[in-house]
Symmetry: C2
């Protein structure tokens, strides 16, 4: 029960921030580089991202999206074509001013996002309604010059995917915007075992250049929010700025309607902070680089290593499996794979072999099951599903317990100061009230207007005027 | 026989360079961006790269390599740590000088390759022989500020993989260097149907900072060479410059021995120029985004579209297949998929359906086969293998026909001026002779000292002194 770790980490209760940075280093997810805010993905960290990418990429393709690759650089004049967009991003870009030993005639920014590059290309390739929809996506690295950085959560360079689509009608584009939001929410639930609130961002919080921004907002274990993925409806604003037109079914020239949507390596931060515990990572089976680690017990006894190797060969066609037959102690190995959040640990020793069984221990609750070797695949499959479900339920309980309702201004302030988590409260729609609440609480912001609104009261929690929406509020990473 | 193209391209014989750029645009592989030398991979072009990546990545992982991700930026001081390396790359890098609205205290280069980043990380994580070998790879974008750019062949930004490994001994590292060279050569032969010369680069042509560079050198249809992939043995030079040490099996402090190896999107250029013809691309089946295109004939006749759709559903579990049921004419479709180099075209019309057959046409030689629908999978498999083999044999014939032997200086000059292609000739080992041959021929350089050397004469083709090696020479992209 009380498995002491070889690699010590700070406890969550003591210092959540320190606990987080301990895990990213000690579970071998990342290393720091000599450029502040740029991190190195170590193999275990990158394998998580590869698994995330494989699942999402297959889903995007099922829905008809195609991958492309846009340039890394954006000329300054191109970035400036859409006014709201450049205002949002120009302050946080990196500029290339010299290349090949010469000063450039126009400086180039390293892409912070690629709307303008997609628009420039779409202008070249869209002519008729027959060319629509265009459903493009790219997996790439982007750079945003952040002052304060934190591994996975806020990096100067990060990896992400950005979908950029063009449609004949507003209706089609709005449908795509919500379809992709649900793809993200489904992925959080079904692959990451993370429940989330989904809804629409307020005007103040929407993406630079968008008409509407929708968001997936999971809650971390400490009650903080993380913007987990966003999907934007752009209308034809960019299309007009870039002069993208098509001949419609009535032979009339129109501007297409646009969306964009993205998730990033920040998801790995969400996984750590939603599921992790004081022994380290707890990884959802769907994206765990190792789903089952096989530990031979009393390795020196005849037949143990052979049996363990045989099980590995047998299981590797169905699961991501690792055999650790190193000469580290069993205690070290238990701790190591707990730290790495491997969902199932399979122990096999001489007595198990004699009995035709092995012992499987779940990472999430340390429950042991003795499994007959003849049923091994089915039992592992069942246990992985149970681990996923239990992780989801635990995270859902946390989300529910740390979500409060505030009916008054004082109640809002009291919850913000003393309880934290998400606060459901009514809002008049005025950005001034949003700004005031953020200010007086020292950082509680509107997360979204959720799709599932409740009518708590009929007045704004801030100004007392007539309420327009229920908003979910919270502190964020 | 004489399928006229809807999209016209220049003929290869008339202007090989123009033929090439016509294809990259008209087969929808790329679009140009507003930054000169940075290109946009369109879906069809990027799908080829994804297929290349999937095959190679699986092979790397089989051999125990792990993927990581290093930062995009390298501080100037870090780039300068290994003297030969910085001398080779500094002239062609892009510099970031401003970020987040401020001038940086140290400028950052956009990685042209990542040796120094890997070394900085290896210093942190290698302590003992137990930590070796480290077999890391990354798939990423790199930037080299080229004056003259050409799509796929020479881009300012390009995609590649770079493997960087660390070993206990010189022997292990040298073994890895050659292992990965052969992985590349096997891939060219088995997946791209491209024969190549493999061997060692001369001192003059080796990688900046390497002790030995090995290369895969395929020949393009016009007799030009393309450096298709390189694998480097570094010795412990970088390890010393970066102070990377490990405790060996005798408890002594040692520097590890290093390799690096890479292939890039330039491979797509090699595919185009090895296999393409005057009707467009000819793609090797292993990496073709569409392996079989189904074209319904007399689409308006009852049952044709249904049968074509049924075949698509049936075939898509075994092959990458597309059904084109658009209302474009059959002639347009024939040309379109010839341009795109789809290996097999499957035609099905009312008479075929009545007979329980379809017609399959090979892209490489336009041969038609009537295939019984009951044998369809097996026949497509057989035909794809035949296409691959025929493409390989055709390219091999070209390589052989355009490879000459030069026994004397005059003969060398004559072949260089009048025949082109590869020239096998003896060499004394002096870089002066290499430089002179390049100079007098206007660009014929040593490609490599091939593993399979022949003894043509015993004197250097240039200076007449005693020969050390047979070298393969040629003009390059």
């Amino acid at each position: 029960m009380d498995n002491k770790l070889v690699k010590e980490i700070t406890s969550m209760e003591e210092d959540f921030t320190k606990w987080y940075t301990d895990i990213v280093k000690k579970a071998d997810l990342i290393d720091y580089s000599s450029v502040k805010g740029c991190m190195i993905f170590r193999p275990y960290g990158f394998a998580i991202w590869e698994n995330i990418r494989n699942i999402l990429d297959a889903r995007f393709k099922e829905l008809g999206h195609e991958n492309v690759s846009m340039p890394l650089f954006i000329p300054e004049s191109l970035l400036q074509k859409e006014k709201d967009h450049v205002a949002g991003f120009a302050p946080e870009v990196a500029w290339v001013t010299h290349g090949g030993g010469e000063k450039l005639t126009e400086r180039l920014c390293v892409r912070p996002t690629s709307e303008v590059l997609f628009c420039e290309h779409y202008k070249n390739i869209i002519e008729s309604y027959r060319d629509l929809p265009k459903l493009y996506n790219q997996w790439c690295n982007v750079v945003r010059w952040e002052k304060t950085t934190r591994p996975f959560l806020r990096n100067l360079e990060f990896h992400w995917q950005e979908g950029h689509t063009m449609h004949e009608t507003e209706e089609d584009a709005r449908e795509e915007t919500l379809r992709m939001l649900h793809v993200y929410n489904d992925f959080y639930r079904d692959s990451l075992a993370i429940p989330a609130i989904i809804g629409k961002k307020t005007e103040k919080e929407k993406f630079a250049g968008a008409i509407d921004t929708y968001t997936v907002e999971p809650m971390m274990h400490n009650g903080f929010a993380l913007q987990g993925g966003t999907s934007h409806y752009f209308g034809d604003g960019f299309a007009k700025a870039f002069d993208i037109t098509f001949t419609d079914r009535n032979n009339k020239l129109q501007h297409p309607h646009q969306t964009s949507w993205g998730v990033s390596t920040r998801m790995i931060g969400a996984i750590i902070m939603t599921h992790g515990d004081d022994s380290g990572l707890v990884l959802p089976p769907a994206i765990a680089p190792i789903q089952v680690v096989i530990l031979p017990i009393a390795m020196h006894k005849a037949g143990v290593l052979e049996k363990a190797a045989e099980l590995k060969e047998r299981l590797k066609t169905s699961f991501r499996v690792k055999l650790d037959d190193s000469d580290n102690s069993p205690g070290w190995k238990f701790s190591e794979y707990e730290m790495k959040g491997v969902p199932l640990r399979l122990e096999i020793g001489p007595r198990d072999i004699a009995d035709g069984v092995c012992v499987i221990v779940r990472r999430d609750n340390r429950e042991k099951t003795v499994v007959k070797l003849e049923n091994l695949e089915a039992e592992i499959k069942r246990l992985l599903a149970e681990v996923h479900n239990a992780m989801y339920e635990k995270a859902k309980k946390n989300l529910e317990e740390k979500t409060s309702v505030a009916k008054s201004y004082d109640e809002f302030l009291d919850i913000a100061a003393n309880k934290g988590g998400f606060i459901k409260a009514m809002w008049c729609g005025d950005p001034e009230c949003e700004a005031k609440l953020k200010d007086v609480t020292g950082g509680v912001k509107s997360r979204c207007i959720p799709f599932e609104e409740e009518e708590i009261t009929d007045t704004c929690v801030c100004c007392g005027k007539k309420a327009k929406h229920m908003v979910v509020w919270g502190r964020q990473y």
